[in-house]
């Protein structure tokens, strides 16, 4: 299923970069906060946006809360289409943010001749 377009900011990129470290592995919200350095509010806005657009899915952890003595946490996972879109967007962003080449290199051989 094709994913919807997402407003791609550097904070969105940080979250997706973290997911792409291990695309098949699910992530917890708090672990994502620590890994990206984002505040919880910012992170959950991004997770909601990505999930709505179909880049992510979420599911409740499969545990017995009584036995584990804690409530089940929510896990977030990249969808296959989301992973593909994330790679493409990150590559484009990386290209846009690449520092310009030094003037001499940009001038190339012609510059050397001057």
């Amino acid at each position: 299923m094709p994913v919807d377009e997402v407003r791609f900011t550097t904070t969105v990129a940080r979250v997706l970069r973290e997911f792409l470290e291990m695309p098949s592995e699910p992530c917890y919200g708090f672990d994502l906060m620590r890994a990206t350095g984002l505040a919880s509010g910012t992170l959950y806005v991004i997770l909601a946006r990505l999930e709505r657009a179909g880049w992510l899915t979420s599911e409740q952890e499969d545990i017995d809360p009584v036995a584990a003595k804690r409530p089940a946490r929510r896990l977030y996972r990249l969808t296959p289409d989301g992973a593909q879109a994330a790679r493409q967007e990150l590559a484009e962003l990386s290209e846009k943010l690449r520092p310009p080449l030094p003037v001499r290199s940009r001038l190339g051989y012609q510059g050397e001749a001057l």
């Binding site: 505040a39 509010g41 709505r52 409740q60 009584v66």
Partner: protein
């Protein structure tokens, strides 16, 4: 005299250590309330239809992890907990708006938090709640699952597991406590119970409680259902 000192000295030291430990535990429990209260305030800023999925299904378990995780030393967990809850308080409406963009996904989130379906057809959180819902349904009582209850004496809102409504509109609540051996859960329950009392809900009169540690006692569920029926008149 010196012999008495030799005996009493270690006893006093042990007693002081025990008291210190108790005081420390008390302070820890009270400090944990700060981020929990902040997060509850954040949840109130969410659209009502997203309350369960986001607050109960996602945020509260994460805060629980922050406060009770292996690496949670007292000061660190308090700071992390407050930061976690405060940031959500600030941006909760925005999270709600992001999700509200697509109703299907909100329903999807709700399904993940409430994976069990009762005979009557609604989704609930645990298998024990399925049993209770089915039991109420089987004896012809009309219930609503996790219906918000606004305080009459206190400001604020609580969400009982089951609200059972009688023919004359009288209301009885049923709470099922599945994790009472968890100190944080128990603490939260005692505060909720006090809130109920202040707002006109009295144990075994118009508020009934079942609990389980481990397996569910079906006889207790059936007995409670009959008490609820009797209370409704």
């Amino acid at each position: 005299m010196r012999a008495v000192e030799y005996v009493l000295g270690p006893v006093v030291a042990v007693l002081l250590a025990a008291i210190g430990e108790l005081v420390s535990a008390e302070i820890r429990a009270r400090l944990d309330r700060i981020p929990l209260a902040l997060l509850a305030m954040a949840a109130r800023r969410l659209p009502p239809e997203q309350y369960q999925a986001l607050y109960v299904g996602a945020w509260l378990p994460e805060l629980h992890h922050v406060l009770q995780g292996d690496q949670a030393t007292p000061i660190t967990r308090l700071i992390h907990g407050i930061r976690f809850a405060a940031s959500l308080w600030l941006l909760a409406p925005m999270v709600g708006r992001e999700l509200a963009g697509d109703v299907r996904d909100t329903q999807h989130l709700a399904y993940q938090a409430f994976p069990h379906r009762t005979i009557r057809g609604e989704l609930v959180r645990t298998k024990s709640e399925v049993v209770i819902a089915n039991c109420l349904h089987s004896i012809g009582l009309h219930y609503e699952y996790e219906r918000g209850l606004e305080g009459t004496a206190d400001q604020g809102r609580r969400v009982p597991d089951f609200t059972i409504i009688g023919g004359t509109g009288n209301v009885v609540l049923w709470e099922h406590l599945g994790m009472l051996d968890d100190p944080m859960y128990a603490e939260h329950w005692h505060r909720k119970l006090a809130w109920y009392a202040r707002n006109g809900f009295e144990l075994n009169k118009n508020l009934f409680v079942t609990s389980q540690i481990g397996s569910l006692d079906m006889r207790a569920v059936e007995t409670t259902a009959k008490k609820v029926q009797k209370a409704l008149g």
